[in-house]
Amino acid sequence: MKINKILNNNAIVVKDWEGEKIVLGSGIAFQKGKNDPVDQSRIEKIFVMKDHTKHQQFEEILSTLPEEHIQVSEEIISYAENQLGVVINEHIHIALTDHLSFALERLAKGMVIKNTLLNEIKILYAKEFQIGLYAKELIREKLGIEIPEDEVGYIALHIYTAKINAGEMTKTLDITAMIRGIVDIIEEGLAIKLPQDTVSYERLIAHLRFAVQRSESEMPFHELEPEMIRIIKEKYGESYSIAQKAGRFVLQEYDFELHDSELAYISMQIQRINTRETA
């Protein structure tokens, strides 16, 4: 995968046989230039927008708005999708980011746009309002800005509108969320909990990141000989079946196919955790 265009430090455009894709990830363009290979371990989200106008709009937002605003907006959207259990309409990436950035600039100047439906929004769109409150926390944490409840109400409305317009218009691959999902399945399968601040956890995440990387020709990162794969399936049956479950999960939820080699590789990781944690 090569960088086709740099939009900002954390956003690039790549071009492959499927067309142009927007790729987001912390520091993904850091010290890189056009045509440089993409650091796949930094990929967090991949967007394939079928509507060309939306693609252009998104590119423009990513290259003109302050990076911190974009990062916070993406985090809010990921959280919202998680909470609501749906992939929100691609337009939210444009609408919310734009709205948020504009609102934050206004707030910096001391201007507040009143929300005349605030009381009602809290009741009518309670779930979305909760997400708005999370956004308020996140903005305070990451940007040090205090947004008023009026704003929380507007965010809630944006999310509601995007939620109900959810369609298959964009293929968004949220790699971070996908990996988190795989870890959940592994924890469930082994009946353990891996604390996030351990080396063990970090290592697992790193290994999983490698496992979901692809080369230009769609070959898996780890290529194991069929004989090797067979031995792993036999020896680490329990771990392999957990890996298979993870494979089914990512196929269903993310339309992402894990190659046999990768499943075998992941089984080995699971086996390692299993023997160590239960020793």
Partner: protein, 166 residues
């Protein structure tokens, strides 16, 4: 068991929503507030009231009466969730001049008096007396036809015809 099954069979899939207030009819885009004019809230219509009498637009149930008294959430028998919001930025009145005839949980019939408000006070203190009515949950709508006659009569003029998603 059989009774419940029959009840379910009778659930409406089409709903006609009548005007809750008498007055001039306006499209949402003309409501003087960005939430309504920019379609950030749900689909619906607005009325510039001639008087302060509010009747139920549908047969249904009162789901929520807002503390501020100027907004009402009704669930029609078909399941459609409706919000009637008297005036724009009416919150500053703090309920002054509003009298409710119903309470949360009450079943209501189309045209039944729901509340009364002081049109003079709303005109004086709120940003505008223009009253939007909209469908809260857009994903309940299969198809919607919004009528925009010049004027509507409370309890008589149909304003929206909705096919409900099953």
């Amino acid at each position: 068991m059989i009774k419940r099954w029959i009840g379910m069979q009778q659930r409406k899939t089409e709903e006609t929503i009548f005007s809750p207030i008498s007055g001039r009819v306006l499209p949402m885009e003309e409501v003087p507030d960005p939430i309504f004019s920019k379609s950030m809230a749900g689909m619906g219509v607005a009325i510039d009231p001639e008087d302060g009498k509010v009747g139920s637009p549908v047969d249904g149930e009162i789901i929520h009466l807002f503390q501020t008294k100027h907004a009402l959430w009704i669930r029609a028998d078909s399941g459609l969730d409706l919000l009637i919001h008297i005036g724009v930025d009416t919150v500053c009145l703090n309920g002054e001049g509003f009298h409710h005839y119903v309470k949360m949980g009450d079943r209501v019939k189309m045209g039944q008096p729901l509340m009364n408000f002081s049109l003079d006070l709303v005109r004086e203190k709120a940003t505008s007396p223009v009253t939007p009515m909209f469908l809260i949950h857009t994903d309940q709508i299969e198809q919607i036809d919004i009528e925009l006659p010049e004027r509507a009569e409370r309890g008589l003029t149909p304003l929206m015809k909705v096919k409900v998603k099953s």
